[in-house]
């Protein structure tokens, strides 16, 4: 049994002449792990590394003991990109059925995934005519299809109604309770409190790692936003 779902060692990513990720060492275990940081700090790149679609300059990323992106992992890892990667000209149902066939999972999973993201009423609507939030939920439903062991979610709650956002976070915790390691990114600091564990990221580096309470206590701040500021200013001083 491998203890950590993800182990990252000395990961280095360079795009053009810009260093995007700088010698990262991270582990992701069970529960809901949040990756928080401002836009452009390298969150998406890190997530792409976990799924194995990012060219890396150095370092190693292993998922359940195999190198990220190995063929053995491809039906164990669910991935939601920031852009909702579903087909605009197909209905929600057609999209999910297609991806279910690619993954080779039972069509019954489609119903469960639609339920989980609360899109039952829009099942037969063409995705292109849905709102942005509904579209990103359709994209999230695809990632839930295979009941993956690791879920990598790049800003899944952006622009959603607060009620729905709360529902989704409950869903993430339900999945985590059933044994899925959930790795979620967000640039909204108030979502931090909902994570079991937090990684704060800035300019390609992890500046804090711990439970929300630990991070706040260590920085002597009342909320994560202030903790983030305190850590950045502390490092600059």
């Amino acid at each position: 049994m491998v203890k950590n779902a993800v182990e990252i060692h000395d990961l280095h990513v360079v795009r053009g002449r810009r260093t995007v990720l700088e010698h990262l060492d991270i582990t992701v275990g069970a529960g809901v792990t949040g990756l928080l940081g401002p836009s452009g700090c390298g969150k998406s790149t890190l997530m792409r590394c976990l799924v194995g679609v990012q060219q890396v300059a150095g370092g190693a990323v292993s998922v359940f003991g195999d190198p990220a992106g190995s063929s053995r992992l491809r039906d164990r890892v669910g991935y939601v990109t920031q852009a909702s990667s579903v087909y605009d000209d197909l209905t929600v149902d057609e999209n999910l059925r297609f991806f279910a066939r690619v993954l080779g999972v039972d069509p019954a999973h489609v119903d469960r995934a639609v339920d989980a993201v609360d899109l039952d009423d829009h099942r037969d609507q063409v995705v292109g005519r849905l709102s942005g939030g509904q579209r990103s939920r359709a994209s999230l439903a695809v990632a839930l299809l295979g009941e993956p062991d690791l879920l990598v979610l790049d800003e899944p709650t952006v622009g959603l109604d607060p009620v729905l956002r709360a529902d989704l976070w409950r869903l993430f915790h339900d999945l985590a309770d059933r044994g899925t390691a959930v790795f979620v990114s967000s640039h909204v600091m108030d979502e931090a409190e909902r994570c079991d564990r937090l990684l704060l990221m800035r300019e390609g580096r992890i500046i804090a790692d711990g439970t929300p309470t630990e991070i706040k206590e260590k920085a002597g701040a009342g909320n994560i936003e202030d903790a983030f500021l305190a850590i950045v200013r502390g490092a600059a001083a």
Partner: protein, 243 residues
């Protein structure tokens, strides 16, 4: 390669096309309209018998080139390709899935065009008529393969469409439609010998002029070879890891 995934992709592409009624209508009706126009232009002359076969080879090639380059470009830019590549999908499943779907469309398209040309416009075909459709399908797969390859070098749909004149029009000029290939200047004849559309047009012309099919199969093999090479190049441009 996994047949389940391959046919999932082919099925999905066909559903997408079915939903896009206007594209589908253009795909199926336009070749017929253009062939009729040509027949009308050269009514009471032997020209239609000479250029008709070449047109039957050109339409599936051009249309599938365009459709494939734009759809795969969309697939690359929308993130669906990245998602599929992070799933248990092989690159060949993707490529052949597209090949199968567009092959089906090409078969319907050319069946209509052939039926119209032979049945109503009096195109004289000596060889077996069904073989015309086979050539058209292989030709369509060739167009798809090239379109797929080209989509890797285009950032926008606008650029993708611009590759059409660059890669397709020279082949049309040199394929024997305007002047028989053996009457071209030697250098151009040599160039036309390495362009796949030339062989597709040769195959169609042989089919209409003689009943012997040995040469047709040979030309067909060359076109199929180009199509496979195109798919291989296309596969090389589908990268799981991108910068």
């Amino acid at each position: 390669m996994n047949p389940r995934i391959l046919f999932a992709i082919a099925g999905r592409v066909l559903v997408q096309l079915r939903r896009d009624r206007r594209t589908l209508a253009l795909l199926l009706v336009l070749p017929c309209v253009l062939i009729t126009l040509l027949w009308w232009m050269f009514k009471d002359t032997p020209v239609f018998d000479a250029v008709g076969p070449a047109l039957l080879a050109m339409f599936p090639f051009i249309v599938m080139f365009l459709v494939t380059s734009v759809t795969t470009l969309r697939e690359r830019s929308s993130g669906t390709l990245e998602r599929l590549l992070a799933m248990p999908m092989g690159k060949l499943d993707f490529l052949l899935g597209y090949g199968v779907a567009f092959g089906v469309v090409a078969a319907v398209q050319s069946a209509l065009a052939v039926a119209l040309s032979v049945g109503f416009l009096g195109l004289d075909v000596q060889g077996p008529v069904w073989l015309l459709t086979v050539v058209a399908v292989v030709d369509a797969v060739l167009g798809s393969a090239l379109g797929l390859f080209v989509s890797a070098f285009a950032q926008t749909e606008f650029q993708a469409v611009q590759f059409m004149p660059a890669l397709v029009i020279p082949q049309i000029l040199l394929c024997g439609l305007f002047i028989p290939r053996d009457q071209l200047p030697a250098t151009l004849e040599a160039v036309s010998n390495v362009l796949p559309l030339s062989y597709a047009v040769d195959a169609m012309q042989t089919l209409t002029s003689t009943t012997a099919t040995a040469d047709v199969w040979q030309d067909l093999a060359v076109v199929a070879g180009f199509a496979l090479a195109g798919l291989a190049l296309g596969a090389a441009t589908l990268r799981r890891r991108t910068p």
